[in-house]
């Protein structure tokens, strides 16, 4: 009646809600896996478990891609949320990019096998944890955009907080790497990895800022 072709409006809506929730779950889970991947890599240097985890991230990334396409298709095909459709799709795309960044980091660890001396392990793990916390806060922000618009600002603020923390940890670690006695090529190589991990936070913050604008637009 409203533009839906076969199934009812409400059952389609519920299915789509589940898909979007599932997408955010994937982003959150990929982060949690990534949080374990870094210490696993550092402690056992590219053993079977690490490869298994990278494979898991790859699978989740494909699943997220599939959901993005399905949601995009349904939203346009059935003309749902006309006022917020483009915002929601852009949001999903940017979150998908975030999953891609996690995956990219995993691949780089797997292919380039950077050697982090023991003295940097703790800092690198801490940076990774902050980055994952930042993305977790983003997941909350996104969930609140869909359900509880009043909480978007509060959760968005947490993303900003973790992003600043991450910047501090990145700067400190990068400084320590360049102050060390390692050869310059290794210093550059390690800095590349640290920077790539920190960039996930920058992207998360950009998305959180976007969500806050979308929330203002969505206000009744």
């Amino acid at each position: 009646m409203f533009g839906l072709k076969s199934s009812s409006l409400f059952s389609d809506t519920k299915k789509l809600e589940r898909e979007i929730d599932g997408f955010v779950d994937i982003l959150s889970e990929v982060g949690l896996v990534f949080k374990s991947i870094v210490p696993t890599y550092l402690n056992h240097s590219a053993n079977g478990k690490f490869d298994e985890m990278v494979e898991k991230v790859k699978e989740m990334e494909s699943k997220a891609d599939k959901i993005t396409k399905e949601v995009e298709h349904t939203l346009y095909e059935e003309t749902l949320i006309p006022d917020a459709r483009s915002d929601v799709l852009r949001l999903l795309e940017h979150m998908d990019e975030l999953i891609g960044m996690y995956q990219g980091n995993c691949y780089h660890f797997s292919i380039q096998k950077p050697h982090f001396p023991k003295e940097f392990h703790e800092d690198l793990i801490e940076l990774t944890e902050t980055v994952v916390n930042c993305v977790e806060a983003l997941c909350l922000t996104v969930r609140s955009f869909f359900r509880d618009i009043k909480s978007v600002r509060d959760n968005g603020h947490k993303v900003t907080f973790y992003e600043k923390e991450s910047d501090i940890k990145f700067s400190s670690l990068a400084r320590r790497i360049f102050d060390s006695e390692l050869p310059l090529d290794q210093k550059m190589h390690l800095r590349y990895f640290v920077e790539k991990i920190d960039r996930i936070c920058d992207q998360a913050e950009d998305i959180a800022d976007e969500v806050q604008i979308y929330a203002i637009k969505r206000s009744v």
């Binding site: 009646m1 409203f2 809506t13 003309t79 006022d83 929601v88 009744v220």
Partner: protein, 350 residues
Amino acid sequence: MDISIIIFLLGGLFLGWSLGANDAANVFGTAVGTRMVRFKTAAIVCSIFIILGAIISGAGTTETLGKLGSINALPGAFAACVAAGISVYLMTKAGLPVSTTQAIVGAIVGWNLYTGSATNIKVLITILGTWVLCPVISGLIAMGFFTLTKNFILKRKLHILRLDAYTRTALLLAGAFGAYSLGANNIANVMGVFVPISPFTDISISSFFVFSSKEQLFLLGGLAIAVGVFTYSKKVMFTVGNDLLKMSPVAAFIVVISHSIVLFLFASQGISNFLQSINLPSIPLVPVSSSQAVVGAVIGIGLLKGGKEVQWSVAGRITIGWFTLPIIAALISMILLFILSNIFNLTVSF
């Protein structure tokens, strides 16, 4: 039936078409403008409920309009309807959401002036009074509903998609109610002037059901409105939906329901009788302007949001249109009456 009667009735049907093209857009304009309801769906629901409203509850306002000036010759009624239709068409062309209500009142007064018949000043003042009250009441209802709905949504924490589904359903239901109220309130504009001189006779379908001549007129008018909805209202719907204030779908629903309530209030014999029975002042059964109701509701919501988003220049243009429309309709009515009586030698009043 005499061919001339059919020609004269065409005047009413033309006005009905105008009403469908312009006023009906008010009912679903916000829903279609925000792309929450497809035009085709809106047009079908709108047409069905306008016809139902006209046949079931259209009598009250017709009576009031009859008191303003009882046009007693078919050519006179034809001139009044065509004058109202042309003036609404001109205003619609200018992109101003006006109503057939204002046009037909202007045209009837024009007939009174031309034929030297007395205008019932008391009724005229009542009608003009409701034109001021209508947007105010609609605005107040919209403000109340908007606050309640906003709080409800924030409290219930509905998913954006669930809210979308509920809003679509609500828009369609409110639109159906609005179309029914529009039919009930505004059919008088289209067919009211023909009621005293109806060419139809009552049809008894069984001993229980009689399809009166008035109802047949209202059905005909309702069909003309439906044709207007399908052929010309799409553009006006998008104007109403987007120009005055950029609205969210929920706000669009508030506008439709507020407009519908106001139209229903001014058409419901039941509510009027009830208020009288508990010694409250009764609501006059007057054909009010659906455009005024919509604009009132939109401005009400705009004011609640701080007033910055309202396009005041557009609101000003619309208001000027409300003042000029009855005058234009009266003038065209007098010109047409002059042509009919002096060139075609037709009797425009007895």
